[in-house]
């Protein structure tokens, strides 16, 4: 009954969805497709922090939307054990920051058990992770994807648009590995939450089923002067910057890798061959960020095509401050992106 109601209300929309709406559709479809899929996490009964599971408890019941105590080590470990024995858990996090309390389960257990056992086990497990800064001070502002990036044995997905979020989420649920599905806190578009202002923060999502494979990036805007690689919130800021740069006659090509692991390096190589210039923008702290890996890979594979040094724009190596003035001073914003691109075109 709940389901009918949900479908009807969707039909009334024009299929322009927010990311959280697209993810809810993906979740619902996957839960109907495969009885082994279930969600576990804190307050998922009422939707979780970003309302990812809104309405799901009524629709699927307490056996498949499992509300937990505040016990991250416990329920991550439990999800790993359940996955080893053939279930397909989705662990929902209110804030990805809390995942760090259970880091052993991720870095030492889930990501290694397959390898250590000589391939005997598989762990099909998705983490739903609100990431990045959103005005809440340092302990609710980690770019978790940057912290996870160093670990072997896991996959990291970072969708930035509703269309990508749905297709990627469905692939993540069907993947037989631990997949960290990181969505920026300002991108969900959940009711009562701030949503970034950009022309791609809401978008058309078809009703027909589609999947987006993990490891395939996308050119979000074609251009000729500079290649800019960015994900999550930074992608939106780069898209906004592109509009202004276009007015000044600078044409940038914007690549969203969509997944950090695996990473679509070929797509960046091909773009750099055309533009000869590369800027990588990420919200993670600069030291050892994923952008450093991309810079190294491109230097190794395409340096002869480059007309200028590879530049990176990231958050400096500080905890994220609370005051909005300071927060926006450290996290790359539109103006910093524009300045950096102009600098790069002059090199």
């Amino acid at each position: 009954m709940q389901n009918k109601k949900a479908n009807r209300s969707l039909k009334e929309n024009d299929r322009d969805l927010t990311i959280v709406q697209a993810m809810r559709e993906a979740l619902r479809e996957e839960m109907y497709r495969d009885q082994k899929v279930f969600v576990i996490g804190e307050d998922v009964r009422i939707g979780g922090s970003f309302l990812f599971t809104l309405g799901m408890f009524d629709e699927f019941g307490p056996e498949r939307i499992i509300n937990t105590p505040i016990s991250e080590v416990g329920f991550i470990g439990l999800a790993i054990g359940a996955a080893i024995q053939g279930l397909r858990p989705i662990v929902d996090f209110q804030y990805s920051d809390f995942l760090l309390t259970a880091f052993d389960q991720i870095a030492q257990q889930g990501s290694k058990l397959r390898y250590m056992s000589g391939g005997q086990v598989k762990i099909p497990l998705v983490f739903q992770l609100p990431t990045g800064a959103s005005g809440r001070g340092a302990q609710h502002a980690n770019s978790i994807e940057g912290i996870l990036f160093h670990l072997p044995g896991i996959k990291i997905v970072t969708p930035a648009t509703p269309y990508d979020a749905k297709g990627l989420f469905k692939s993540a649920v069907r993947d037989d590995n631990m997949v960290f599905f990181c969505v920026h806190k300002l991108l969900y578009g959940s009711k009562g939450r701030q949503l970034v202002q950009s022309n791609i923060s809401k978008g058309f999502v078809p009703e027909e089923e589609y999947l987006i494979p993990l490891g395939v990036g996308e050119v979000k805007r074609e251009g000729t002067d500079v290649t800019v690689v960015a994900n999550l919130l930074m992608l939106h800021r780069v898209m906004n910057a592109a509009e202004e740069l276009a007015k000044e006659g600078i044409s940038i090509e914007i690549i969203d890798p969509r997944t950090l692991v695996p990473f679509d390096t070929d797509l960046v190589v091909n773009s750099v061959k055309k533009t000869g210039r590369l800027l990588i923008v990420e919200e993670s702290n600069e030291r050892g960020g994923w952008g450093a890996q991309v810079a190294a890979d491109i230097a190794a594979r395409a340096i002869s095509y480059l007309d200028a040094p590879i530049l990176r724009l990231a958050t400096p190596d500080v905890p994220i401050p609370y005051s909005p003035v300071l927060e926006s001073a450290v996290i790359p914003n539109k103006q910093k992106i524009i300045d950096m691109i102009i600098r790069l075109t002059k090199k």
Binding site: G74, G77, L78, A82, A83, I84, Q109, M116
Partner: protein
């Protein structure tokens, strides 16, 4: 430090138990002992890289517990896990080969002493981080409950684990969701060098169970029959949907924590008292008092195991080394 000596209860009569079960208890305990001592020898010869954590002295807890489980039940084991794995039925050949780092090892040589196991006999490859296995064990039990497979999980851990947050979270989850799991503590009185009495303000670890809303019991862990009976009871509870049980087995680590630890921090009085209660000769004596067993019987079993262990070493030695191309395999499931 408060010395804790063994307090063996009066031996229970074994006449009510089937010969096969008693024989298997002795066989498995003897197998573990011989295996561990051989591992030590092979280690000293330089055939085993890295480090080893031996479990001799604790055989009765592992064997009593595993014989109370079904073949398709699962156990999770510790860094001191050789005995637990052997007790559940993992072959000594495949463990020895694993320790030698060979392709024929139970984890293809990728796990080593700290990560032995095999899913085919219900042994999740060992989790060597103290405490981390308890939530995972609860998770496997969660899956069994959901699949209504009637399988259960036995989570082996040591006394040190009971001070870890992971363990507390696992007990709570298992209790609130009535998961079919047995938390089986091998309390050997030491976390590396630290004595139980210095880090627990309570008499028994099982005293913590009621706080999680589950039954807990502390038993003498050097008697395989006592352990067998209690785990059988806990298994029955788990299988019938009544949830987890905490079973604490009091036992003793006869050796040091690891290969280079002479364990001189232990009071002689305590060591001597426990060595006198060695589970294997004690059980042998009990069997011989029953007219269904003879010295000849038991010697035949011992001989059979001695040959098996020698063959395990030979097998490990003669097995091919891993091809280095395998180093990058098994990272992801396709």
């Amino acid at each position: 430090m408060k010395i804790r000596k063994p307090e063996p209860p009066k031996n229970k009569s074994i006449t009510g138990y089937e010969v096969n079960l008693l024989e298997e208890m002795y066989r498995r305990m003897y197998r573990i002992r011989k295996f561990e001592l051989m591992v030590n020898t092979q280690f000293l010869k330089g055939n085993i890289p890295g480090t080893i954590h031996l479990s001799h002295g604790q055989e009765a807890s592992a064997v009593g517990a595993c014989l109370a489980l079904n073949e398709d039940d699962f156990i999770t084991i510790t860094h001191r896990g050789h005995g637990q794995a052997i007790a559940k039925g993992l072959s000594t050949k495949s463990i020895m080969a694993e320790l030698f780092g060979k392709a024929t090892g139970c984890c293809k040589g990728k796990g080593g002493s700290l990560h032995i196991g095999n899913m085919s006999v219900g042994v999740l490859p060992a989790i060597a981080i103290v405490g981390a296995s308890s939530p995972i064990a609860a998770g496997m039990a969660f899956a069994f409950k959901r699949k209504e497979s009637k399988q259960i999980v036995c989570n082996f851990f040591g006394d040190g684990t009971a001070n870890k947050g992971d363990w507390h979270e696992a007990l709570n989850l298992a209790a609130i969701w009535s998961l079919p799991v047995i938390f089986l503590c091998e309390n050997n009185l030491y976390g590396v060098s630290t004595h139980f009495s210095d880090v627990f303000p309570i008499e028994n670890i099982a005293d913590r169970a009621p706080a999680y809303g589950m039954p807990g019991i502390t038993i003498y862990g050097n008697d395989p029959i006592i352990v067998y009976e209690e785990v059988l009871e806990a298994a029955k509870r788990a299988r019938s949907g009544k949830g987890p049980t905490l079973v604490e087995c009091l036992t003793y680590r006869q050796g040091g924590h690891k290969r280079d630890d002479p364990a001189t921090y232990r009071p002689k009085e305590e060591v001597d008292a426990w060595l006198k209660q060695d589970p294997i000769p004690n059980f042998r004596e009990r069997l011989l008092k029953d007219n269904r067993f003879s010295d000849e019987n038991l010697k035949a079993i011992e001989q059979e195991i001695d040959v098996e262990i020698a063959e395990a070493v030979e097998f490990a030695q003669n097995s091919p080394m891993l091809s280095i191309s395998l180093a990058l395999e098994d990272v992801y499931a396709e």
